[in-house]
């Protein structure tokens, strides 16, 4: 335990480390060079040509008519569905190929659309209002949070599982690297279900009442919950208590949440009609934007960092800079008059498209510069063009590379590092170790207690004897005859008396 501070220098180690460091840097340079070669595309934002022009003024119609090619222009559409089925939740899978529409109406309308061909993949009704919907690891499976339970369907709409433990769920998130489905709902219970083994990993009581707002931090897989008392809590399956609690909107419920891809910024929308930007390293509020026409009902941050805010019937988009500094005016705007508060606003991965789920259906608009232009083929399930073989391969590989749920921590780099130590943690560590030892002892004792006593009598369980014993009970004709004979004898004896 005791380590000398001023130990004499280990030259060999120093040399080794220096060499390693140079090597690492060399390879990093090489990798960045390679990236320059491979990543040829850059995300481009629309820019105004002169001072009088503003990017906010650019409408979708204009974009469609004047600027976009046919391929991209067809991403601009408004899909009006039956009024009774809305408002619609919208979700994309990780590759952005499929979109999932789930109506909150009583019919429980569900549809999966292939975004490449714009063809309807599946459509079915669950006859129950759907609170939330999300794809699992890829587009072939989806989870629907229905009125009472959570169900898992395959791409054809066949019900695969019913998760009984998850009742009255309002929000769901799938953690792709851990294969976990996290749900939270009316009871305020946060539950993690392993979708590969079907095991319920952990359940945490938030003690903060029903919770509607849930997002994951893509950087460290920590779940962020927005509560009705204006606080946001951060959770991991390994801790029964929240990791961090932030008082974001004092006295106003959190209506929506979004976290950027690098896990650095969080945007929260509150009932006070404000969107606040938080730095997740310092947990400090950086700045806030006010919304009009209602509180921000849905927030999303695109892969490139564009902040989309759905408030009332408006969707407002802010440049990536808006996270780090306060901007005066938004990047783009889109209005869906009369289509009520936007239920969900989601950016489509790897495309400059944003989907808006509203009261009467869904709308798709183009937000230039919102999608990551370069695909990463090493990342499983993010290739929108993967074929069946690749998909199967990815599934297996992804399962092999599945991370343990206990690895989720605020700082993902703690895995493999030396434990932090201060007086509090040291104490806790000792206590934990003692507890562990106790538990082990207890288990051993239990084992001993429950050990089955071996049958000591020999020969009894020999197979021949067993068979013999079985033979004894067989009632056949002979036995019957014998029994009859005996009874006759008995009767004769009695008569003789």
């Amino acid at each position: 335990a005791f380590r000398k501070r001023n130990a004499k220098p280990n030259k060999s180690l120093e040399r080794q480390m220096a060499r390693k460091e140079t090597k690492r840097l060399e390879h990093a340079v090489a990798a960045s060079d390679a990236q320059e070669i491979l990543h040829v595309h850059a995300a481009g934002l629309v820019e105004a040509e002169h001072d009088m022009e503003k990017t906010v003024q650019l409408t979708q119609q204009k974009l469609k008519r004047e600027f976009l090619e046919e391929v991209n222009a067809r991403n601009i559409y408004d899909l009006e569905l039956d009024a009774g089925n809305g408002p619609y939740k919208l979700a994309y899978d990780r590759s952005g190929k499929f979109s999932l529409l789930a109506g909150r109406g009583r019919q429980g309308h569900v549809a999966v659309v292939d975004q490449h061909t714009l063809a309807l993949q599946t459509e079915f009704y669950v006859k129950e209002p759907i609170r939330d919907a999300c794809f699992l690891h890829d587009g072939s499976m989806m989870a629907l949070a229905q009125e009472r339970k959570v169900f898992i369907y395959d791409k054809d709409g066949v019900e695969i599982h019913r998760l009984d433990k998850h009742s009255r769920v309002f929000g769901m998130q799938f953690l792709p690297y851990h294969w976990l489905l996290a749900t939270v709902g009316h009871s305020g219970m946060l539950q993690y279900q392993d979708t590969s083994t079907g095991e319920l990993i952990s359940q945490h009581r938030t003690k903060l009442g029903p919770c509607h707002v849930m997002r994951q931090n893509p950087f460290n897989s920590v779940i962020h919950l927005g509560h009705t008392n204006g606080t946001v809590t951060l959770w991991s399956p390994s801790s029964s208590e929240y990791l961090v609690k932030l008082l974001c909107h004092k006295g106003n419920p959190i209506t929506s949440l979004a976290i950027d891809r690098n896990g650095r910024y969080m945007a929260t929308g509150g009932g006070d009609s404000k969107v606040k930007i938080w730095d997740l390293r310092t947990y400090k509020e950086l700045h806030s934007y006010a919304t009009y026409g209602g509180p921000p009902t849905s927030l999303d941050i695109s892969q490139t960092g564009i902040l989309g805010v759905g408030h009332g019937c408006h969707a407002t988009f802010w440049k990536p800079d808006a996270l780090s500094q306060k901007l005066k005016e938004p990047y783009m705007k889109h209005t869906l008059p009369g289509k009520g508060p936007l239920e969900s606003l989601r950016f489509r991965p790897f495309e400059d498209v944003c989907g808006l789920g509203h009261a009467r259906g869904i709308a798709s608009i183009v937000v230039p510069g919102s999608g990551e232009p370069n695909l990463d083929s090493m990342e499983h399930f993010t290739n929108p063009y993967m074929d069946n073989r690749q998909r199967r391969e990815a599934e297996v590989r992804s399962l092999l590379e599945k991370l343990s749920p206990d690895m989720i921590a605020l700082d993902p780099d703690v895995i493999g590092s030396v434990e932090e130590s201060n007086s509090i943690l040291r104490r806790q560590r000792l206590r934990d170790l003692a507890e562990e030892a106790d538990a082990r002892k207890e288990a051993e004792r239990d084992m001993e207690k429950n050990k089955k006593e071996k049958k000591r009598m020999r020969g009894r369980s020999k197979i021949a004897k067993k068979l013999q014993r079985k033979q004894k009970n067989i009632v056949d004709d002979n036995v019957n005859k014998l029994r009859e004979a005996r009874e006759r004898e008995k009767a004769e004896k009695e008569r003789a008396r």
Binding site: L243, L247, K250
Partner: protein
């Protein structure tokens, strides 16, 4: 001679020729001595033990009196002759030889020489030579051998005799058989004889009798005295004995006969051998260390037959170019086009270029006599060929390297030399510096003088400069007690002599004086400082005139005293003149001030607020007019310093502005010019408001109405002052006095105090009175603050806002104020709840948290129950006896400290901890080092394929079945010479 007489038996101790030496101090009884057999008396073992002791003792004795010994020796020898008598010849010869040997000693000749001379003697005086020569020769040879053996072995003299005998037995049995028993017999006889003789002649030769008791070489050899070659033997033996003899007589002169040294103990010898072996082995092993180090440091040990083959086959640009061949149509077309353009071959191309360049150069160099190459095409061609590719075809690589190395060496040497010279050149003696400095000063002076004579206007500049220097000197206080000398004197304290003490005090006084001067200058010369400006000058003059007008009534001037000026008409004339001057001055003043006001008015507003920074620009008007202001505009100056109100809130406002009240006639339109207030917390609480004057004045100047009739105002204000309802405790006179005090600009602390105390104002009342009059937005805010402080309801609210209550209300922004005012209860509730939770969390994790335990249980040590007397208080123990109090443990710092809206859970994540290390693993010594070591990703996702492979290469690469040879030793590589 006490020795001699007392120990007659051991008297031979003084005589040393015998091999067995018995120390006189270590003597034994004669009877004991007799019983011991000679051979056993002092055998080799004893020799080992005591031999060295004897040697040293004899030596020391020898040194004491060598002369005496010699004399004694001789006399004893003679006595032997007398006593023994029997072998007279022999003894005579013995005597002779002894003499000769002693003579040898005196001449300090070698043993060998004496031996050889002895040999010669033997041959020449072969008087006893009855036997044949051969026999004689044999015997001599034998004895020599014996001697040689003796020399080699030297097992001690007593054993010498034994070995002597043995040798004799082995090599020459006949001799030993013949003589040894005889010798033994002789020995016995002699012993007996000696005893009898000693008995008989006790009186005659007291000291020398004991000698015959001992076994001597002579007595041993008596037995063989009649053998052939005895003389030689005797001589050689004599050499031996004299060797020991000479050791007693003349140390170091002749060869010493030494005993075999005691072998060193096993431990020591083994240790030595180990050491030697270790050194040899480590030297041997170190030949491998180089290769071991290399292997240890190597990332990968590659035992494959052709390692690094991959690197060669890697595609590079050069490889691709060298292999390029035009295959497709397009490529062929391109190649053709290039051929047409004459660029098919790079070599050709370069040549052509060179030619072109050279052609140009040739033209250029033609003037310098460079022979142009145009004439001889072939020559130029060949040279081109030679010089292409940087002339690499002319020198080999080795040559080039060698040349380069030489060049580098030269350059390095030059560089070092230059560096050295550079350094050395810099070093100059103190004297040199001194002289140089003086030289420089002189030169500068001369230059300056010259410049002065040329341009007299420079004089002023020079003077100013000098003045500046003087000032600087004073500012830096060269006369402070910080000089080395002063410090030394101070340190020595009272031991300093009077002279030095006086000098020091003188210096102190000087320093003090200078300091005072600096201060005084600041005060006194304030006017002068700013008078550089011409406009200022004018302004001042004008004011002076005005002032004079006011003053002249009471103050008699020199002019007035003159009788001439006492005349009526003169008076009138002067009056008129003065009036005119006054008028003019006023106009001028007006004009100037208007100018100034225009310049200042823009920022006057801000300035009045920024009281912390009395801007330098504003000091000018202030300084110029301060005195005058006091006189001309004795306003209702109000200084409320460090007034505390709203005691409970812990922050106070000190009002350090001037509140000017105008006449009641003008009271409607008049208002408060300034109401400067500031936070106490700022730390600027000086309590003095002198600076405020100017700002106020400036404002006045802005208003033309005011500047029109300042004198008129003087009166009204003066009258007003007394009526000022704000001022609670003050008298008019004292006020005036104070003002005057300030006009004289003695800013002593007492005066300040007076001012502030006399002008203390009850702000609370004042504020309430002011309410109607205040129009200024700024002052309104101030008033609001004043009000807020007083009113309880606001206080309550501000208390609710835990953090913000520390700040003044005025410091809050408009938005914050509004927010505070309209804060909904839900808001506050949420915040409160959050804070509570945070505190709970803190408490839970705090290891220093202690439950409040009542240490004294009632009933313990006292009566309890109904009717029991109240328990005694624990006895107070004196602080000396009390156990030392434990230091209050400080709660460790939390991550969320200082963040009011964040709770960071500090609970250890047990489950995550299993993926972490409890301690820093072995080779690393710090967390940082370890983290650095594991930093960076080595996977394919983050690196190029080559990088990932490289970083995850195994430590040892070997083909199955490959025989790995043991490490070969390797010479330590020398450090490569520095490259330049």
């Amino acid at each position: 001679m006490a020795r001699k007489s007392s120990k007659s038996g051991n008297g031979e101790a003084n005589k040393m020729p015998e091999p067995r030496i018995i120390d006189e101090y270590n003597h034994v009884n004669e009877s004991d001595d007799e019983e011991i057999d000679e051979d056993e008396a002092f055998n080799s073992e004893d020799e080992l033990k005591y031999g060295s002791f004897f040697k040293s003792s004899t030596k020391s004795r020898d040194k004491k009196k060598p002369d005496k010994d010699k004399k004694k020796k001789k006399s004893k020898n003679r006595s032997v002759v007398k006593l023994i008598g029997q072998d007279e010849e022999i003894s005579v010869e013995e005597d002779q030889s002894d003499d000769s040997s002693s003579g040898d000693e005196d001449d300090s000749e070698d043993d060998e020489q004496s031996a050889s001379s002895g040999g010669d003697d033997e041959e020449s005086e072969d008087w006893a030579g009855s036997d044949s020569d051969g026999e004689d020769d044999d015997g001599g040879q034998y004895m020599l051998d014996l001697l040689n053996n003796l020399d080699k072995q030297v097992p001690g003299i007593a054993s010498d005799n034994k070995s002597d005998k043995k040798k004799g037995e082995s090599s020459n049995a006949k001799i030993s058989l013949d003589h040894v028993p005889a010798a033994a017999l002789h020995l016995k006889e002699s012993e007996f004889q000696a005893a009898t003789i000693s008995m008989g002649n006790n009186n005659v030769v007291g000291g020398d009798v004991g000698k015959t008791n001992k076994l001597t070489l002579d007595s041993l050899m008596d037995g063989i005295s009649d053998t052939q070659g005895f003389a030689t033997v005797q001589r050689t033996m004599r050499v031996l004995t004299t060797g020991t003899d000479s050791a007693s007589g003349d140390a170091g002169e002749t060869k010493k006969l030494e005993t075999t040294k005691v072998p060193v103990s096993r431990v020591v010898s083994e240790r030595a051998s180990r050491k030697v072996h270790y050194e040899a082995t480590s030297k041997d092993v170190s030949q491998w260390s180089q290769s071991i180090h290399e292997q240890r440091d190597a990332e990968t040990l590659d035992f494959r037959p052709n390692k690094g083959a991959g690197a060669e086959t890697r595609l590079t640009k050069d490889v691709l170019i060298s292999k390029f061949e035009a295959k497709t149509d397009f490529e062929e077309e391109l190649a053709k086009a290039l051929e047409v353009a004459g660029m098919e071959d790079e070599k050709e191309l370069r040549k052509r270029e060179k030619r072109r360049l050279l052609g140009k150069d040739g033209r250029g160099d033609g003037a310098d006599g460079f022979s142009s190459d145009d004439g001889d095409d072939n020559a130029s061609q060949s040279r081109d060929e030679l010089e292409d590719d940087l002339g690499s075809n002319r020198i080999t690589l080795e040559e080039y390297k060698k040349r380069h190395g030489e060049l580098a060496k030269m350059r390095a040497l030059l560089f070092y030399e230059e560096q050295k010279r550079h350094r050395i050149n810099k070093i100059k003696s103190k004297k040199y510096r001194k002289i140089r400095k003086k030289q420089r000063e002189r030169q500068k002076e001369a230059e300056e003088e010259a410049a002065l004579t040329e341009d007299p206007s420079l004089e002023r500049e020079k003077m100013e400069k000098e003045e500046m220097e003087r000032m600087r000197e004073r500012m830096t206080l060269a006369h402070k007690n910080t000089s080395k000398w002063a410090r030394r004197v101070l340190r020595r304290g009272k031991n300093v002599d009077v002279e030095e003490r006086r000098a020091l005090s003188l210096q102190l006084a000087k320093g003090e004086e200078l300091r005072r001067k600096v201060m005084g200058l600041e005060n006194g010369a304030a006017g002068h400082e700013d008078s550089g400006d011409e406009e200022e000058d004018l302004l001042k003059k004008a004011r002076d005139i005005l002032m004079e007008n006011d003053d002249d009534v009471g103050v008699p001037s020199d002019a007035k005293n003159k009788s001439l000026f006492q005349l009526e008409f003169m008076k009138r004339g002067m009056e008129a003149q003065r009036n005119r001057a006054k008028e003019e001055a006023r106009k001028l003043l007006e004009e100037l001030e208007a100018n100034e006001a225009a310049a200042i008015s823009t920022d006057s507003e801000d300035e009045s607020e920024n009281e912390k920074s009395p801007a330098s620009k504003s000091t000018k008007p202030k300084v110029a007019s301060e005195a005058e202001t006091k006189m001309v505009l004795p306003d209702g100056e109000l200084v409320a310093s460090s007034l505390q109100f709203g005691k409970s809130d812990g922050f106070a406002i000190s009002i350090t502005g001037n509140i000017e009240l105008n006449a009641s006639a003008e009271s409607k339109e008049k208002n408060i010019e300034e109401f400067e207030s500031k936070d106490d917390n700022d730390g600027v609480k000086t309590g003095i408001s002198i600076k405020k004057n100017r700002t106020k004045k400036k404002k006045k100047q802005c208003e033309p109405k005011d500047s029109n009739s300042p004198s008129a105002e003087v009166i009204t204000d003066d009258n007003e002052e007394g009526l000022n309802p704000w001022i609670v405790t003050e008298s008019k006179n004292s006020n005036r006095e104070n003002i005057r005090n300030r006009a004289t600009a003695t800013k002593s602390a007492s005066a300040k105090q007076k001012v502030s105390s006399s002008l203390t104002v009850n702000i609370k009342e004042a504020a309430s009175m002011l309410v109607d009059d205040i129009k200024d937005g700024k002052s309104e805010a101030k008033r609001k603050r004043a009000e807020t402080e007083d009113e309880d309801e606001f206080n309550e609210e501000s208390k609710l806002d835990g953090e913000k209550s520390n700040r003044g209300v005025a410091d809050l922004s408009q938005a914050e104020l509004v927010k505070q005012a309209f804060a909904s209860p839900a808001d506050l509730e949420a915040e409160e709840e959050f804070q509570k939770e945070k505190n709970r969390m803190k408490d839970r994790d705090d290891p220093t948290r202690q439950k409040e335990e009542d240490k004294f249980v009632s009933g313990w040590g006292s009566w309890a129950g109904a009717g029991a007397p109240p328990p005694k208080k624990p006895k107070k123990i004196s602080s000396k006896l009390r156990a030392p109090e434990k230091k209050a443990a400080v709660a460790p710092k939390r991550k969320d400290d200082g963040m009011s809206t964040v709770i960071i859970n500090e609970k250890r994540l047990k489950k995550t901890a299993k993926y972490q290390l409890a301690e820093i693993p072995h080779p690393y010594r710090s967390r940082a080092e370890y983290e650095k070591a594991i930093a960076g990703n080595i996977g394919q996702e983050w690196n190029t394929i080559h990088g990932a492979k490289d970083m995850s290469r195994p430590a040892v690469i070997v083909r199955a079945g490959k025989i790995i040879k043991p490490i070969a030793k390797k010479a330590k590589a020398r450090r490569a010479p520095a490259k330049f």
